[in-house]
């Protein structure tokens, strides 16, 4: 996994609540057996005026000019600013894959759906839960200022805007450690293989039918 330490990145606002993972990456793209290549299809149905299919070349597809991702001022964005319950619905990890593959590294929202939230961390993305007031303020500042960019520092757990407005965010020490160092979680877990085996032996003794 790619490590995340700090970032100065342009912000792209998606101003609607309950953005679901079907919207982030529609089902037809889930037929891929790869982990990469989803970026061009991120928000496919909102972003393009035609119907997207897997492996389609997106360079000349007609774009929805009203959609934030297509607006010149948000090109090169690395921070996705969103509303409540971002990433609800399906557990598809293709959603964070598409977001990461597009070029985003940080998502800021008042709340996230649980499975999506867990999935983002596995892919070097940093999801930040901010208060509704702080998110409102970021939306206002972002819409008012072309080229609006935020500083995000994982070590100090802070977000700072160009106006000097700043707030801190929470993250569990375990996730912070993995993200800062780009650690492979499976490798970390396997360091405890002995404990897993010991647990398994106790579990088998208590519920032998689970091992029949």
């Amino acid at each position: 996994m790619r490590a995340f330490t700090k970032l100065h990145g342009i912000v792209c606002p998606i101003d609607r609540a309950n953005v679901d993972t079907d919207a982030i990456i529609p089902k037809q793209f889930l037929k891929s057996i790869k982990r990469s290549g989803f970026g061009p299809y991120l928000f496919d149905e909102w972003r393009y005026l035609d119907h997207g299919e897997p492996e389609m070349d997106c360079t000349n597809r007609p774009k929805n000019a009203d959609f934030a991702l297509n607006q010149p001022r948000y090109q090169g964005a690395e921070v996705l600013l969103a509303r409540d319950n971002f990433g609800c619905g399906s557990s598809r990890e293709h959603a964070p894959w598409a977001i990461e593959n597009y070029g985003f590294r940080v998502i800021i929202a008042p709340s996230f759906a649980d499975i999506f939230f867990a999935n983002t961390y596995k892919n070097g993305l940093l999801p930040i839960v901010a208060s509704s007031e702080n998110v409102d303020r970021l939306f206002r500042e972002c819409l008012a200022t072309e080229g609006y960019a935020l500083d995000v520092d994982l070590k100090t757990q802070t977000v700072t805007s160009p106006t000097g407005f700043s707030f801190t965010f929470d993250i569990t020490p375990h996730r912070k450690h993995c993200l800062l160092n780009g650690l492979d979680e499976i490798g970390l877990t396997l360091q405890h293989a002995g404990e897993i085996k010991a647990f398994e032996a106790r579990h088998k003794a208590a519920q032998p039918w689970l091992f029949a």
Partner: protein, 468 residues
């Protein structure tokens, strides 16, 4: 000290180790695998030179991409076929306790086949790269969806890195009225708490109305926990749970069965257990539900109307309603019963079990699908459900009424196969998500119970099944 919730008991019995910040390694007993969210996980194992920790915990089936008709032609979409072939190859290489490949007599939707084969048992931790894994909580199991990285993690280590959620109890008191089902109960709950109401919680469904549900009904209820934001929904074990499991192929046998039953009977919340949140709902007040928008929380009773955004004070919610009405092609204040439909879908991991098909067939019996309905699909959840339904003559009831009777699979719930809506088409669907484009780009989904879907097919528009 307060007693334990069922969630506490399930959690505590699976903790391998705990970090100082509360992060735990949780042991996983059952890993359900399908073709869409597993290929990258198997590839990850291969690249790292890892083997599955315990492949006998794996139950696998292709379900999302498989066609529901013309099976003799195989899978015609080459990209879908590649994904299903990849699952075949991966199971061959890495192993599983059981695999039902495409066209196998017992193939079907993963969340239907695991319970009906006794592969989901009380007290288990159950995961799958699929958010509707919550279904299995109906058995007093801790079951939830995971992403593909976690699928790989479970395969490689038999554990998940997890932090414990909070515990919510949703108590549905009294009894459901006639014609009102577990689906209506679930949608009414989501309408009440919202699609993020359960975020951060494991929800235990309790109360006399939940106790009164069959196992199929409890699966429908837990299946929809995720649409209320909760990764896991659970129901305590009772005699119905045990009776359902007895004799199923992978259920324990002999003295193991007796030992298991004795343990399973302890799988309920203690009388003095403390929940972080408790919601009480009166079952008798629940009416048959129909969604009107593009989120499962955008739901009302069949006697209700499409809401008017002008009545919503919150600007973000108001914009959400306006956007939903535009997408759905609906006018504010339209009575739900005046909304005409184009297609009907009875199926999905929410509502494709035998009881669902019986309920729909009871409404359709001796009637005809309305002339304005372009397609009315019935897709059983598995080969076993299909054969049972055929033995009861339900297929004949459906086909005589003008429904198509198909082969099992996820089908038009998410339209990864050929079963889908065309842009602008409106569907009465027994599935779980009414998101934009879910059943096909531009398609308009209204979530309902199987009986309500069948009634809508006959009437050509939504109708109160109690008066149909």
């Amino acid at each position: 000290m307060a007693g334990k919730t069922l969630y506490d008991k399930l959690w505590d019995s699976h903790v391998v180790r705990q970090e100082e910040d509360g992060t735990c390694l949780l042991y996983i007993d059952r890993h359900l695998v399908h073709e869409v969210t597993s290929p990258q996980a198997f590839e990850g194992l291969r690249l790292a030179g890892r083997k599955p920790w315990r492949n006998t915990t794996i139950v696998a089936v292709p379900d999302h991409n498989t066609p529901t008709n013309n099976w003799d032609r195989g899978i015609e979409d080459p990209i879908s076929k590649q994904q299903v072939d990849t699952l075949d190859a991966n199971i061959k290489e890495f192993g599983a306790q059981v695999y039902f490949p495409f066209k196998h007599a017992n193939q079907g939707i993963i969340h239907v086949i695991a319970p009906e084969n006794g592969a989901t048992l009380p007290g288990m931790t159950v995961v799958c790269g699929d958010s509707h894994t919550a279904t299995h909580g109906a058995f007093g199991a801790l079951a939830h969806g995971i992403g593909t990285s976690e699928v790989e993690h479970v395969m490689a280590t038999q554990t998940l890195v997890q932090k414990k959620s909070k515990a919510m109890q949703i108590k549905v008191n009294g009894q459901l009225g006639s014609g009102v089902t577990a689906k209506d109960m679930a949608l009414a709950i989501i309408g009440r708490i919202g699609t993020a109401g359960g975020t951060g919680y494991c929800v235990e469904f309790a109360g006399t109305a939940v106790e009164g549900l069959s196992m199929e009904g409890r699966m429908t209820l837990c299946n929809l926990a995720i649409e209320g934001g909760a990764r896991a929904g659970i129901v305590a074990v009772d005699e119905k749970t045990i009776a359902y499991l007895e004799g199923r192929p992978f259920a324990p046998k002999g003295t193991d069965w007796d030992k298991a039953v004795a343990y399973w009977k302890t799988l309920k919340s203690d009388a003095d257990a403390k929940f972080d949140a408790v919601i009480e709902i009166d079952a008798a007040a629940i009416q048959p539900q129909v969604t009107w928008g593009t989120s499962p929380e955008q739901v009302t009773a069949i006697g209700g109307k499409v809401p008017n955004p002008a009545n919503e004070a919150d600007p973000i919610k108001r914009a959400g309603i306006e956007r939903a009405l535009q997408y759905m092609g609906l006018k504010a204040d339209t009575p739900m019963s005046e909304i005409a439909i184009d297609k009907v879908f009875i199926g999905s991991c929410t509502n494709s079990r035998i009881e669902d098909l019986r309920a729909a067939a009871a409404v359709a019996k001796g009637k005809k699908v309305a002339a304005n309905i372009k397609l009315a699909l019935v897709v059983p959840g598995s080969g076993i459900v299909k054969r049972q339904a055929e033995a009861e003559g339900l297929d004949k009831v459906f086909t005589a009424a003008g429904f198509e009777w198909r082969e099992p699979g996820c089908s038009m719930c998410l339209a990864m196969n050929a079963d889908r809506l065309s842009p602008g088409e409106r569907c009465a669907s027994t599935s779980n998500r009414n998101f934009e484009g879910r059943q096909g780009p531009g398609g308009r989904t209204h979530l309902v119970s199987p009986a309500m879907a069948a009634a809508a097919a006959i009437a050509g528009h939504f109708v109160d099944v109690r008066q149909a």
